[in-house]
Amino acid sequence: MTLLSVRDLATELSDGERWLRAVDGVSLDIRAGETFCLVGESGSGKSVTALSVMGLLPHGRHRHPSGEVRLHDRDGEVSLLGAGESVLTGVRGRRIGMIFQEPMTSLNPVMTIGEQLDEALRLHEPGLDAAARAERVRAALEEVRIPDAASRVREYPHRLSGGQRQRVMIAMALICEPHLLIADEPTTALDVTVQAEILRLMRELQQRRGMGMLFITHDFGVVARIADTVGVMRQGRLVECGPVAEVLRRPQHEYTRSLIAALPERLPRAERPPAGEQPLLEVRDLAVHFPVRRGLLRRVVDHVRAVDGVSLDVHPGEVVALVGESGCGKTTLGRALLRLIEPTAGQIALEGRDITRLSAEALRPLRRRMQVVFQDPGSSLNPRLPIATTLIEPMRVHGVGRDDDERLARAAALLERVEMPPDSLWRYPHEFSGGQRQRLAIARALVLEPRFVVCDEITSALDVSVQAGILKLLRRLVDEEGLGMLFITHNMGVVEYLSDRMAVMRAGRLVETGRTAEVLARPRHDYTRALLAAVPRLDAQAA
């Protein structure tokens, strides 16, 4: 039975002046008990498709030139596109549930989770009395395996972890027993181990209830884990649609093929020159503790051990991947290596010279030997300065190049190395896309000719095809210039493609270090094993 049928859906959004077509002739069917995955890169229109179905697009700023959306469930048949608010209110929550991406902001912070679940019930099941509703709420929380549900009902959202909040969101979406669940990237903000649990839970609940599910994601690994049918979107169009095994194993459309080929674990790896013998960076027993102050006198009562006794070497011409889940201290470690955060104890030596206790003044000339590229393309470049100024200023400070003309020529040459057009020099950061900004941030890091570079999750905000380009660029730079690189990431595919050695971090400590191929093939530590098992992979389905 076809639960949701979308025919030739087109959605146009207004930016105040023009109408931009976000969804362009999408047709799809979801049957009861089926999981339909919409996959695509950012801006491909997959979220807008879901919002169009729910009628949640901003009022007066969208229109549908064509299309039909019909929901056909046990309660009858209803046409959703352009339906009145009263019809939609009856459908939303009651017949279609929705889960959003960001678990941190999807719950109201001033209401207890019990009240929020209760509100949905009160609206859609007016016949139930308070005791019956309380029972339903408790049952819903137990169903999503919130431990000790009866007492958790009175908790506020900030007391729950990200994974638990997403469980509460699922409970809220399912409490009125909808026939269709729309999930918009529900696991993207979560760690891999948590993601694996949530995916398992969603799959299980769906099968038990025979719901249809529209699941939006950008991750082919997740698709392989959860989907029955998959639709690939590009620029508002559904370019390929079919059973998951078919599409993933034998993609018909060229775009699908290029997307799958761009997955980092699928990228071809060239022969790599051997890494240098002499370590570039030596870290011994490094610790960074943040004091926890309490009480009237702000006394230090405890320390947060963000980094706790880490020892690590990086050789020239080598990429060391630092892997771990959020909050494990990997970013703090990266910043401490560059002395952006003061280490509490331990020793950092760059090219044999101890830099742990150097004064800011003595450190300044050494700054050009080690550089950093950050995660967020939105804030990695100064929005008020043209690219030329951003690149030239550090050269001027460190006396690289004789005059500004020479420095400008060097900057232009560097832009060519990171595969950016030379006229980028006179543009401002907001004119570039995320991937281009990360290339410019790499150029800014390389402008001082460093020996050691820290890359902190620099591709995690980017689409796979863009990520593939950046990863290839990084590997080429490391191989050709003999840089040492510490690459911080949580993406195992990236680790597999890029790194020579890897270190797994957990709660401020390195639990396992070794050559990448060996660790991935034969993990010794339990945590590494759990981490690797949780990673959604395309091969899991294909096998």
Partner: protein, 398 residues
């Protein structure tokens, strides 16, 4: 989407130009700026608009330019400031540099003018009218309003308050006369200088102090922040008006002292804004990257952080100018402002002082105060919208 497609064809514009463009698209901002611009013109050309000294006359067969001969240092500085502002507006280069250049050049001219320009110390306004009556002067070219701000018309016996256009002896007072017999229109025109000057200089002082202290608090946080915030709290606890009253009582009345006091008591708000912005910016990746590149502290603070945190400051400053003008008017209204020199608040005071209600002394200066404060608030409001990315690209979903 694809990485290559995003570079637009049009040339880049710096952020300041974007904001200026967005500001000028708003009618309210244009109206406000037009009124402020008009005030600035009137203030700079005041000696040529309202002056008892004729612009040109032939006395006993000898050509004279009394209005020019009586220009004092303040007149010269205002004129130079306006001309230099025009030059700065037409020249090329970063907005900040042009503004700094204008400021430095104007300050230099002002200092030079104070040292060199010396108008005749004795001013006799009546003599021109006497010469004319005696037939000694020919071809007299007068300013549109032929009365100086301090010309109390001593040569006429019947001086005192006079409603607009109640002309006696063939005199025309468009806005009437005040207590001492001086022309209200002339006094209002010359008072525009105090209104503009006090707003800009007091706010300028507050901005400089607030930015430096707030910036240091935000960047260093910790102990510096704690000391700075206590300082902010101390200054916020001082009521500006009472401090001004005390200083006026002790040191006499001076418009410059008023500017300084309004300035040094109103920086705390700006310091809070800058601190909050810097606390946010310090964690931004491009600031961390600047630190990691070993850039000097001054560059990090003023080149990488300040231009990114200046938006709320601009908005607050335009409202600050309005409140500084109001503070001066309040003092003058209370009779504690400048003596003898014209001020809108002082005229307003005279409206209620005598036993009759002199409407022309309430309506015209009151209207000028209202329009000026309103203009600054319009500009501030439009600036807030112009620098706010949410109102710029509202509702872009997807």
């Amino acid at each position: 989407m694809s990485e290559r497609a995003a570079v637009p064809a049009r040339p880049s514009r710096p952020w300041s130009a974007e904001v200026a463009g967005a500001l000028l698209r708003r009618t309210s901002a244009r109206l406000g700026l037009a009124w402020i611009g008009l005030l600035a013109l009137v203030a700079a050309f005041a000696p040529f608009i309202a002056n008892s000294h004729p612009l040109y006359m032939v006395l006993d067969g000898e050509a004279r330019f009394p209005a020019f001969a009586h220009l004092d240092a303040a007149d010269v500085s205002w004129l130079a400031g306006l001309v230099l502002a025009f030059v700065a507006w037409r020249s090329r280069g970063p907005a900040f540099l042009r503004f700094a250049g204008w400021f430095a050049a104007t300050a230099l001219v002002a200092v030079l003018a104070w040292a060199t320009v010396s108008p005749p110390p004795l001013v006799i306004y009546e003599q021109y009218r006497e010469w004319e009556a005696a037939g000694r002067a020919e071809r007299v070219v007068r300013a549109p309003i032929p009365y100086s701000a301090k010309d109390y018309l001593r040569d006429h016996g019947d001086t005192g308050m006079e409603p607009p256009l109640a002309g006696r002896d063939g005199r025309t007072h468009w806005f009437g006369t005040e207590d001492n017999g001086a022309d209200v229109a002339s006094r209002m025109i010359h008072a525009a200088r105090i209104a503009l000057g006090i707003g800009f200089i007091a706010t300028g002082i507050a901005l400089v102090i607030g930015t430096i202290i707030g910036g240091l608090m935000g960047y260093f946080s910790g102990v510096v922040d704690m000391i700075g915030m206590r300082l902010v709290e101390i200054f916020e606890a001082i009521p500006t008006l009472f401090l001004l009253l005390t200083f006026v009582a002790f040191f006499g009345r001076s418009v410059y002292m008023m500017m300084v006091i309004i300035g040094i008591t109103s920086w705390s708000g700006y310091a809070r804004y800058v601190r909050a912005e810097f606390l946010r910016l310090r964690e931004q990746d491009f600031v961390q990257a600047a630190v990691a590149s070993g850039l000097p502290l001054t560059s990090i603070l003023f080149r990488h952080m300040l231009p990114n945190g200046v938006a709320p400051l601009l908005v607050a400053a335009s409202f600050g100018v309005a409140s500084a003008i109001l503070a001066e008017t309040t003092l003058s209204f209370l009779g504690l402002g400048v003596v003898d020199d014209p001020s809108w608040g002082q005229l307003l005071n005279q409206a209620v002082q005598s036993s009759t209600f002199n409407w022309w002394l309430a309506v015209f200066p009151g209207g000028a105060i209202f329009l000026t404060v309103f203009a600054y608030n319009l500009v501030g409001e439009a600036l807030r919208d112009a620098v706010d990315p949410h109102t710029q690209r509202a509702g872009r979903a997807g």
